[in-house]
């Protein structure tokens, strides 16, 4: 009898071992139901991030800006696939199809910044995107975090690092108009200073 029980235990161990091989998409980062890295709408290089149940934020990666925020139709997906190109479906809350760039203000002079996408990271509570913004020899790093769940929909967090002394980072014009920039202590802001996290919410 002990031998029989041992066999059963061994069998169960084998079964659970086999199951351990099976990793569901939900166990790994970049589950496509939440993070979609295919092209979105007209943008070859883009990424779509679902916030909460039905809010989506789509980024234009070369421009380092949010291209679109939208709400999926009730009970339906917010993305519709056509091959490997996704189409945003639902109510648009914000859209920026301009060519406006980030700008650097220093000493009363404002300069457009070139941007270069550096990559992204999925953490438990948020999804982070990173860019390098450059003007001549100045290179600053921009981080943008999308909380994966948010009390208020389409909320974003943003930080700039290595900003030259005496400089301020200005949002692209459509973002400046469409989003409210607040510092960590909740005060309104019009530009970003170095190393501080800011929150962006729709106006």
């Amino acid at each position: 009898m002990p031998r029989f029980i041992l066999s059963i235990l061994f069998g169960l161990a084998c079964v659970s071992g086999a199951r351990a091989e099976e990793v569901s998409p939900q166990d790994l980062p970049f589950d496509r139901e939440q993070i979609n890295r295919y092209s979105l709408d007209h943008l070859p290089r883009s990424i779509s991030i679902r916030q909460g149940e039905d809010f989506w934020l789509g980024y234009d990666l070369p421009r380092a800006t949010l291209y679109k925020a939208w709400q999926a139709p009730r009970g339906k997906a917010g993305l519709k696939a056509s091959g490997f190109v996704m189409r945003s479906v639902g109510k648009a809350l914000y859209e920026d199809k301009s060519d406006e760039t980030w700008k650097l203000r220093r000493g009363g002079k404002t300069s457009p910044l070139a941007s270069r996408y550096l990559g992204c990271t999925q953490r438990e509570k948020y999804f982070e995107l990173r860019w390098e913004l450059t003007h001549q020899s100045d290179v600053v790093t921009l981080r943008e975090r999308v909380p994966l769940t948010a009390e208020n929909p389409v909320t974003r967090e943003i930080q700039v690092a290595a900003l030259p002394a005496g400089s301020q980072l200005l949002l692209p014009t459509p973002a400046h108009k469409g989003w409210q920039l607040k510092s960590a202590d909740g005060t309104d802001a019009t530009s970003l200073v170095d190393a501080q996290w800011y929150q962006l919410t729709t106006r």
């Binding site: 099976e22 990793v23 790994l28 980062p29 496509r32 890295r37 295919y38 070859p44 190109v85």
Partner: protein
Amino acid sequence: MTRHRMNYCLILLLTGCGVCQAAEPSRSLDLPAKAIFSKGPNKWNDDVLEITKGRGAIIGWYVQADREEEVTVSVEYTSTRPLNQAYQLSFDGADRFWDVEPTRDGQWSQAKLGTFRVRAGLPILVQLVPPSGTKYPEPVKFRRLIVEGKTAGNLSLVTNLEDPAVPDATPGFGRKLSGRHPALEALDLRGKDSSPMRVTGMAMRSPRELWFTTWEGDLFSLDLDAVSDSGLPPFRLIAQGLSEPMGLAISGDRIFVTEKNQATELIDEDGDGKFETYRCLSHDWDSTLDYHEYLFGAVIRDSKLYFSSSVGMSQRGKDNYQAPLRGSVVEVDIDNGKTEFIAGGLRTPDGMGLGPGDSLLVTDNQGEWLPANKLIHVEQDAFYQFRSIPPWHPLDRPTATPPAVWLPQGEIAASPTQPITLPESWGPFAGHVLFGDATFGGLQRAFLEESEGVVQGAVFPFSQGFHHLFHRFTLTPEGELYAGGIARGKDWDFIERVSGLTRIRYTEQEVFEPLAARIRSNGLEIEFSMPLAEGIGWAPESYFVTQWGYQATQTYGGAKIRYRQTKVASASVSSDRRKVFLELPEMIEGEVVHVRLAESLPSESGQPLWTGDLWYTVNRIPKDKPGDVRSPPRKTLVAETPYFKFSPGNAGRVLYQNYCASCHSLDGSRLVGPTFLNLPGSKRKVRDLETGKSFEVKADAKYLRHSIQDPNALLVEGYPENLMPPIGGVLTEKQIKDLVGYMEKLSDPEFARVEAARTPAVQNPWTMEDFSEVGPRVSRETTNPAAILRGRQAFLKAQCLQCHSVSGYGAELGPDLVESVKKFQGEKLLRHIMEPALEIHEKYQTSQFLLESGKVVVGNVIKEDDDAIYVATNLLMPQDLMIIDKSEIEDQQVSKTSAMPEGLLNILSKEEVLDLLRFLEAGPAPIVPSETSPTAK
């Protein structure tokens, strides 16, 4: 070869082809449009050629100069409207672009297209090529071509350059192999009950852990020690959400994936086994939404990641636009992301690998600007000729860098994939390069060498007979080859057939085949894997050699230029009988030499050749490296029969194999295009792209011809525009006629069945009446060893071992023939082969199943369990078992038809059939693996 000798040869060639000298010595050639050879969907209006469609349309002239000089090329034309793209003028491979100016009131006008240097002695092809993929409402009309030189009587028009008749083909000899190389073992690792694995990138994570990406964007791990011959391999999902990954490279702990639009590093920052960071390593080039923009790769060398980018196709069809820098070989520093474009001009470079000496190799696919497929040895700043409208690639230049090896379309490749260099454990193949093919299938092998600093080499057929196509490869340290396959699209039946993962092992079994080819100043030296039989190989007639050039055009694909048979002045066998030097006095640089070996060349041990084709790309002929021309020994064997046979009906079959078989089956199975089964004479529902209307047409000769010449004109319902390449721009008029003739013959069900089952090159529809002389025995009392040896070769050629065993070796789908010949000999034995249904042993009876779905399945029951019956539906592919769920069976009957196909002897000559009988009657002798020649190819 001396210039004098070369000119003499060319004069001979031209004399045979017909050179039209101008009536009066003139400095120029004034050629009427009717002297044009025109291909594709062009129209004639009396003596005027009218072109509205670009795809597949080519017009051209072969001209010849006695001496080299500068010439100017002009055309006489009319055009009522400006075109949005330029015409291409290709003069002996040098390109100029012509923006077609509208002519006033449709009047004839002369346009000077460019000035070139004409080589002396060679027929030079002047091609005028409309923009590919474009249709214009009004035609551009051509009336004449003027080639103006400086010397009176120097230029002439060359007409009647006919392609040479090629010998009858069998698998591995002029036609694609159909079986697996005898020294390869393959294990199909596809899960039977899982969705198809479309493997897009592969790399070894550790000596026994394989990682691979899939088309769906997942990254899997496979513990190779846990792989068994049965059961689902233990794949483990380790990352996801990748965007159309097409390459995977691993360097130490660092993982790199080439995705749709960027090169990405996967990073597990906290060491929890999950890649939470996808670092964008490089995306320093433009992208569009084009489906065909991929990043293929990838390999790592000296902290640099290398991959290649393909060009887009959607926009190309409209205005020929490409995003800048597409079609490049890209080098990225894996630490700082610094990106360099080290080569350009690629089209669909679907695979990159490290070649000999850690050189970079890429393959490229035939299509626009590629008259054939390529194996490219990447050179810094090289340009490989694919062009679009400006802005052109920064490395674009008028003369392109040739590939190391041309891979002729349909003959040895159709969509070549990743090249991989074989390790020492692959014995004689160490250092050789294998590559797969996304439509041609199987494995092809290339041998590369350097000739005066230029890399070039030969390609050989190596193996078919796998369960799916191969797209990506990786090798374990022990030399196991893992091969992954992929298919695009949504046809899941097709995807399941061609996608998957296979383990391939080299078994070290000795196989007789041409191993390498090396260039010499005066010809090619062919190395064999085994010594030739004594006295064999000395006859120049046992080598059928052709040669040709290629000339890239902006339309799809291209024809062989100056395609001709080449004289073999002598054949010299080395003292160890492992090498044969072919003296080829007409060999010139810039052309491909195709050597076809006679099937009847055996090895010292009596093994027949596994394959007899090789294509050598002559980029550089060494100056002082002559081959060893030797006098044949006294005891050379003289062939009793011709080494090659030229049957009239063979041309159509070979054309089908080379141009159609990748996409159109003969047995009803669905490939990329409609099957040819029951096609001739059937009604087809088609739609006219111009009117948008659908209607029925009869698939008669006219329809077939029209579909070849203008594939988009009448599209079969369900098939999109531009899916079929415009092969009408490649084939000659005679070839189209041969191909249509072959297709028409497929209306005969028996012909179609035999063609589908075996597509033999030579058909001899033998009946018993043809062998009335065969009595109770064929053999006399004293056996003839030579006849038995020939019979053994015929036995192997007829693929008997596919189903039958001999003394335990071979397949067991039919009776062991040693036992059979104890009961049947002579006429009875022959009748059992020719009329398989005469008497069917219970064990080998075929069953017919009617399923609930209405589907009928016919085949041999191989095994049965409580739930299912396993049926081999095609005995020529016994490994492909159909599993029938017993609950789905509505009716089951034993068939009176034998599973053994009729007509198996039809590929043999009468002598071969008799020798086969003699071989069987004599024993037959056991066939052991070590000396077995390849069976089915």
